[in-house]
């Protein structure tokens, strides 16, 4: 009778703890996965921003070259080289920050993974089995209608989940605000990069269109692929469409992080976050293919 009550109480506690802890772990896990996806996609955009910047710079140098003296060419190519190196170095620093943020989300994801720490339950079971070899009484012991052997993994699971939630919540308390600041910095960086990327893409497109127009206006015969070259110039360049995707995704990531901190991250918040991140992924792939 006493064992039956204990069994019922333990079972109810186990189910309750598993339910609460699982829901919170799911929040962390989904957020961390979104964060990893954001970090990877934003790296792609950052790389393309660097390439687009250099391509625009080169296109400008080529287009102005016929109207410059040798001295002017040398002076200006030197200045532009310095500016481009600075730009790439800065983008590299922003990229490193994104990768560190990605590693942080990876660590959160690993701890929030429902399978993480599962070895504790297995090990507890194994320990019990070893002890049972010493004592047949333990091996055959029952709580309620369930043998102790079956009971161990059932109790170990919510304990492990509760431990993980506690560890993750402690991490939020320790670094919640500083991570929010890191995400805000990402957003600020991508807002600035978006403007530059958009301008660079429009400059490249303008120079390409002028070149195509001049080929048409020239007395010489048109290149055989002139129409093929002209065709893509009639639609907006992909980086213009991409301009705010990373900043928007960082904005949603920041809001989701604040909701996670307050334990108020709901399905709607996740949907908004995943929509923006999915949009960022699509655009990052489009830009990557366009630059190739």
């Amino acid at each position: 009778m006493k064992f039956s009550r204990l069994y019922i109480l333990a079972t109810v506690m186990a189910v309750f703890l598993t339910g609460c802890a699982s829901a919170r772990l799911n929040q962390f896990s989904t957020f961390a996965q979104a964060g990893i996806t954001y970090a990877n996609a934003s790296q792609t955009l950052l790389t393309e921003a660097g390439k687009t910047s250099i391509n625009a710079d080169s296109a400008l140098l080529i287009s102005t070259r016929p109207n410059l003296s040798t001295d002017q060419r040398l002076t200006n190519v030197g200045i532009n080289n310095t500016l481009m190196r600075q730009r790439i170095e800065i983008l590299g620093k922003i990229g490193r920050h994104g990768r560190l943020l990605g590693q942080y989300f990876q660590a959160l994801s690993a701890l929030a993974d429902p399978k993480a720490g599962g070895s504790v339950g297995t090990a507890a079971q194994s320990t019990f089995n070893s002890i049972a070899k010493l004592s047949p009484d333990i091996k055959s012991a029952k709580i309620g209608g369930t043998s102790v052997a079956d009971f161990i993994p059932m109790v170990a699971k919510p304990i492990v989940a509760a431990y993980k939630v506690q560890a993750l919540d402690n991490e939020l308390k320790a670094r919640g605000e500083s991570i929010a600041q890191e995400i805000a910095l990402q957003q600020a960086a991508f807002q600035a990069i978006a403007k530059e990327l958009s301008t660079d893409a429009r400059v490249i497109r303008n120079l390409q269109e002028s070149a195509t127009n001049n080929q048409y206006a020239s007395a010489s015969s048109l290149p055989s692929d002139w129409a093929t070259q002209r065709f893509p110039l009639m639609s907006p360049p992909p980086p213009v469409a991409a301009s705010n995707a990373a900043a928007d995704a960082a904005d949603q990531l920041g809001k989701a992080w604040q909701a996670l901190l307050a334990n108020k991250l709901d399905g709607n918040g996740f949907n908004l976050l995943m929509t923006d991140i999915s949009n960022l992924l699509t655009i990052a792939q489009t830009v990557e293919n366009a630059v190739k």
Binding site: L60, N67, R87, H97, T127, I179, V203
Partner: protein
């Protein structure tokens, strides 16, 4: 006016100017201009572009500087979370060790 607004307006102006100066319309106009005017326009375009990149670099460097300053907190956070995961693994290791030890004892000590 707020300095950040002045900066933002200047950068936007430079971006718009560069886009306009490279447009097919501007190119068509310059084709009709004198050689001297074309040289002047080419130099001016490069100066506008260089000013835009330099100003953009200053802004991005400001953000990147803050990011670099905060790197330690980010690395510490990652290490702390990984340590928690390692603790869980250690618990399993301790239990496994006990299990092995008990298994050995069971072979030596007669069963109860």
């Amino acid at each position: 006016m707020d300095p950040s607004k002045i900066y933002s307006m200047t950068l936007t102006q430079l971006e718009d100017t560069e886009v306009q100066m490279t447009s097919p319309n501007a190119d068509a106009l310059l084709q009709q201009a004198s050689q001297a005017a074309r040289q002047q326009a080419a130099l001016l375009l490069l100066k506008v572009h260089q000013a835009r990149i330099a100003l953009g670099n200053v802004a991005l460097q400001g953000i990147a500087g803050q990011m670099t300053a905060n790197e330690a907190a980010l690395t510490a956070g990652t290490a702390a979370v990984k340590a928690e995961l390692a603790t869980l693994d250690n618990i399993a290791q301790v239990l496994n060790t006990i299990s092995t030890l008990v298994g050995i004892v069971a072979q030596i000590v007669p069963m109860v």
